[in-house]
């Protein structure tokens, strides 16, 4: 049996870390099962997934080796060395609306330290999740932004600013000769039943605000395709920067309509002044206006030719399917009352019963083994 691949996922308590880790582990379990079922063909290496975060994930992930550590810790490279980590998937980001030193330290310095530690520890490749918002929404943008396009992302939205900072740092890093492969995936607005992204918050409003007389083209991706893309880059060696987005580019008005929402046109100077005043008062803009107005005014659609040709990845959901799913989930939520809570509690209890009985069986088996010996 060849050597085990060690994958380290930072930010495993966040939704993306959790989902990528459980996806990887589920896949490896399936592979082991199929290998055991077939007669001993174990050419493929198993994987060992280490999760790292400052706090443990809300729900325990089966098979995950969790280590509670801050990636900014200077001894992080020692950990990478001692665990013989091959691949690092960095998903440790703070999605704050307002710029703050704390978030900057966490996002930008955290990423810099992770990349530094990885190159010191001889990690083979590192994967970063980024956003197409780093290109910025400008009137002079081409209809399709390629990966080489200069990064002119917004300086007001904290997360976008940090992403631009990270991307320019990575550009500098990539220009040096290095052994380590670096993959950056840039995703547009993410929509999905469990995602909590600016776009989800934007569409979840009662009446969706929109600038009057502007109808830019929009691009989206489904949350499960985000996970799929990250898993694919972990499993295959595809270094470089890629835009990853669902097929289908829609005008904003049509997107809102397909999501089953009513748009509320706002005269644009008023909208800009309004958010300026609100951000001055430090109101929770991530709820009121989660997407910056410029991003609802000018087009910032990314070109996904390289995703199809070089990365060889095609998202499962098209833009229309994503919005149709969003619409139906919204409709169901309308009828969800307390009964649904009971229902989900029921599910949770079943999960507990099953996992406990499984553990008990395992213990019994072990005891039997001991007895036999």
């Amino acid at each position: 049996m060849s050597e085990e691949k060690v994958i380290l996922i930072t930010g495993v308590a966040s939704i993306w870390g959790e989902r990528v880790a459980s996806r990887l582990l589920a896949q490896s379990r399936m592979r082991i099962d199929s290998v055991e079922a077939g007669d001993g063909h174990d050419g493929e290496a198993g994987i060992h997934v280490i999760g790292v975060d400052v706090e443990p994930p809300a729900e325990e992930i089966e098979g995950l080796d969790f280590i509670q550590v801050d990636v900014r810790n200077p001894l992080f490279s020692e950990l990478l060395k001692s665990e013989k980590v091959d691949i690092v998937c960095h998903l440790n980001f703070d999605h704050k609306y307002y710029r703050s030193e704390k978030a900057f330290d966490f996002n930008v310095l955290g990423t810099m330290k992770v990349i530094g530690a990885c190159s010191e520890a001889g990690v083979k490749k590192i994967i970063l999740k980024s956003s197409t918002a780093v290109y910025g929404a400008h009137p002079g943008n081409p209809a399709f932004l390629t990966e080489q396009h200069p990064l002119r992302g917004s300086k007001t939205y904290g997360y976008t600013r940090d992403m631009v900072e990270i991307a320019s740092f990575c550009n500098g890093y990539c220009s040096q000769p290095t052994e380590m492969g670096l993959t950056i995936l840039r995703f547009p607005s993410i929509i999905g039943p469990s995602a909590d992204t600016p776009m989800m918050r934007y569409l979840n409003q009662r009446a969706v605000p929109k600038l009057m007389g502007f109808d830019p083209m929009m691009q989206i991706i489904h949350e499960s395709d985000v996970v799929e893309a990250l898993v694919k880059t972990i499993e295959e060696d595809i270094p470089g920067v890629y835009n990853v987005a669902a097929d289908g580019v829609l005008p904003l008005q049509r997107l809102i309509g397909l999501a089953g929402k009513i748009s509320m046109p706002v005269i644009h100077p008023i909208a800009y002044i309004g958010t300026d005043v609100m951000s001055g008062a430090r109101l929770p803009l991530e709820r009121i206006a989660p997407i910056e107005w410029d991003y609802l005014r000018y087009t910032w659609v990314a070109d996904v030719t390289r995703m199809h040709d070089e990365m060889d990845f095609s998202p499962k959901y098209t833009a229309l399917e994503i919005l149709r799913e969003f619409n139906s989930v919204q409709k169901i939520n309308r009828y969800k009352g307390d009964t649904m809570k009971l229902y989900s509690d029921d599910e949770y209890l079943r999960f507990i019963i099953e996992s406990r009985s499984r553990i008990r069986e395992q213990e019994m088996n072990e005891n039997e083994d001991v007895d036999n010996e």
Binding site: P142, A143, D215, V249, L258, I262
Partner: protein, 407 residues
């Protein structure tokens, strides 16, 4: 047949043989131009008011029988459809043949019957159905628009929107500017091509008219993808309007991608310098950009098709530019013109000049490789060549033109 007896409702009273005869006589009036005697009988009965549903039934069947007989006599005959106007016309034709008292009576009946029509529930029912249908259709369309159930391509082109707006363009094209287009055969039925035109007239009407010419007069009816200037995306309504019509921002990336998708791309290399020309400089081409359009053609191998537009220059007579207004509005227009700002909004209405759009012979670029796009000398040579061709076409048309406003 029922269309006849559903009319003013005054013929169907006496269900005897006489009445059926009178109806057949009326048929004869329709057929042969009328006979006075029977008409008088018809009018005598108009004042009786008792109606029996059974009688009406019998009458209808009798009338149908009469129609059958009539058809047997003359196969080609079909009664004209009933309408109040036709009834009036028919009566007008035959009125002078009647004695005076009958005439008066007929006029009386007619007057009352037409106002009765308005009180007839059937009339309103018909109108109600029509209105309902119309509203339902429009409502469906509105609902579809609201729920995003319409088609757009990746550039934002919205065919349904274009269909809605087409009548306006057709009016401007056919009636207002009476555009005459020549050389449409130079535009390929399919496949990529780059159209290059002179820009003029303060507002980009010339682009819409070239687009309309190809859309409505070319055999393929292709959509032209115009590339617009970079100050448009900042403007509300206008930016989304242009995008819905399949236009896009003038950038080399956009142009190349469109040409690779085998589209017809229209560029105005003069850009803003062309559109804001002063009246004294009319029909003198400004600098042709930096040759970006030639690079686009060389990289994609698309033929260059020169187009000259004559007539658009005179839609506004611009006399002078004031930096202050331009700075205040952020737009390259409006300049001080003959009518603006003196006449207020009237100054914004373009003048109804006579337009000519001439489409020249294509200039192929097949002999060059895509690498030739980096050859600065070749690019500037081709730019000048295209510019000279368009300038020559302009002068030819201007020399042949008799009048600015009339053909």
């Amino acid at each position: 047949m029922s269309s006849v007896d559903n009319g003013p409702g005054d013929e169907i009273h006496n269900p005897d043989m006489e009445s059926s005869e009178s109806i057949s006589d009326e048929e004869r009036i329709v057929d042969e131009g009328g006979q006075t005697n029977e008409n008088t009988e018809l009018d005598e009965r108009t004042n009786t008011t008792d109606i029996d549903p059974e009688d009406i039934q019998r009458l209808v069947s009798e009338l149908d029988g009469l129609v059958e007989r009539l058809k047997a006599m003359d196969e080609n005959y079909s009664p004209p459809k009933y309408s109040p106007q036709r009834l009036i016309e028919l009566l007008e034709k035959n009125l002078d043949r009647l004695p005076l008292e009958y005439r008066m009576e007929i006029i009386e009946t007619l007057r009352s019957s037409i106002s009765e029509d308005l009180f007839d529930p059937d009339t309103w029912k018909g109108m109600w159905y029509m209105l309902n249908y119309y509203l339902e259709y429009q409502g469906e369309k509105f609902k579809r628009r609201l729920t995003g159930d319409y088609e757009t391509d990746e550039w934002g082109y919205d065919p349904e929107f274009l269909d809605t707006i087409r009548p306006v363009f057709d009016f401007l094209y056919n009636k207002y500017w009476r555009v005459e287009t020549t050389g449409l055969e130079n535009i390929p039925e399919e496949g990529r091509a780059l159209l290059i035109a002179n820009h003029s007239g303060q507002l980009p009407w010339d682009g819409t008219m070239i687009g309309n010419a190809v859309l409505s007069e070319h055999s393929s009816g292709r959509l032209i993808r115009g590339l617009y200037a970079d100050w448009f995306p900042r403007l509300p309504f206008l930016s989304s309007f242009l995008v819905k019509l399949g236009q896009t921002l003038a950038l080399e990336e956009n142009g190349i991608r469109l040409l690779e998708q085998e589209e017809l791309v229209l560029v105005f290399p003069e850009g803003v310098k062309g559109i804001r020309k002063l009246y004294k400089n009319r029909y003198q081409l400004a600098r042709f950009g930096r040759g970006g359009f030639v690079r686009m053609a060389l990289k994609t191998g698309a033929p260059l098709i020169p187009i000259s537009v004559v007539g658009a220059e005179e839609t506004y007579i611009s006399l002078r530019h004031t930096a202050m207004i331009n700075k205040l509005t952020g737009l390259p227009f409006p300049p001080i013109s003959l009518r603006w700002p003196w006449l207020g909004l009237v100054g914004l209405i373009p003048l109804p000049t006579k337009w000519y759009i001439d489409i020249g012979d294509p200039i192929p670029v097949d002999q060059y490789t895509p690498d030739a796009a980096e050859n600065l000398i070749l690019v500037s040579q081709l730019t000048n060549q295209v510019r000279n061709v368009i300038q020559k076409m302009l002068y030819e048309r201007l020399a042949a033109r008799q009048s600015v406003f009339f053909s």
